[in-house]
């Protein structure tokens, strides 16, 4: 499932991004990891250092970083966990079953919903993230599930930022220099 900056042309303001983030649902065993590595190699993805490192330290932390084949974009892959105290992992757990089908350059892929895009941006909590969340809110005000957003913003500890989005406070007033 695609998440974050790569979805800005669809959900927010078109802007550059330095990496592509995604979440995968994978029960970690020697067999599944070997299959995953085969898929990466088959599609000419590259490791930052070695595949061995990707599949030891990376998998242990639930976070794999690889490079795309031609353009060599960084691809960050989060492995979804069932339960976690970590809000980033909670986000992946929450968003995954709600994922939707989108088309990017004629390729069908799974993506987080716009509500989960906003929640994720509020949890990341940076200047650009807030800007993306606000842009998404303005772009899709009428069709957003605001009840879901309010409920989960509270659970994820980002209610203050969500209230700022609802009040359409500009980024500079939420993140003063």
């Amino acid at each position: 499932m695609l998440v974050g900056g790569v979805l800005t042309p669809i959900y927010a303001e078109v802007r550059q991004t330095q990496d592509f983030d995604c979440v995968i649902d994978l029960s970690i065993t020697d067999v599944t990891l070997a299959k995953l590595q085969k898929v990466f190699i088959k599609h000419k993805f590259q490791p930052f250092t070695t595949w061995k490192e990707v599949f030891t330290s990376g998998v242990m932390s639930g976070f794999i970083t690889i490079l795309s084949p031609i353009e060599q974009f960084k691809v960050d892959i989060n492995i979804r966990k069932e339960s976690s105290e970590n809000p980033f992992e909670q986000l992946a757990y929450l968003a995954f079953p709600r994922r939707i089908r989108i088309k990017m350059r004629e390729i069908e892929c799974w993506a987080q919903t716009k509500e989960d895009f906003i929640l994720a941006k509020l949890v990341y909590g940076g200047y650009q993230d807030y800007k993306d969340a606000l842009a998404c809110y303005i772009r899709y005000t009428d069709s957003l599930d605001k009840e879901y957003l309010s409920h989960n913003a509270r659970n994820l500890g980002v209610e203050e930022y969500w209230q700022a989005v609802l009040a359409q406070q500009p980024v500079d007033s939420v993140f003063p220099e």
Partner: protein, 71 residues
């Protein structure tokens, strides 16, 4: 100023909503590619012996130091 910033964002989003999604996606990929190619070109002029992959890996190392956050 505050009102102007929000008005500007509202206008941009209204335009985005009137633009076909495949066009927006195309602009997005073009922006990413152009930015990356300009960076690689500039680094190649400074370090002609560096491979593209080395330039990109160094870039991501620098980026990770700057942002120092996990996504």
């Amino acid at each position: 100023m505050t009102a102007r910033v929000i008005d500007d964002l509202k206008l941009k989003m209204a335009i985005a909503n009137r633009t076909p999604l495949d066009k927006l996606v195309g602009i997005f990929f073009e922006m990413c590619d152009i930015g990356r190619e300009l960076y690689v070109q500039a680094e190649r002029e400074k370090f002609p012996n560096k491979s593209r992959k080395e330039i990109i890996l160094d870039y991501y190392r620098m980026q990770s130091q700057l942002s120092n956050r996990r996504r």
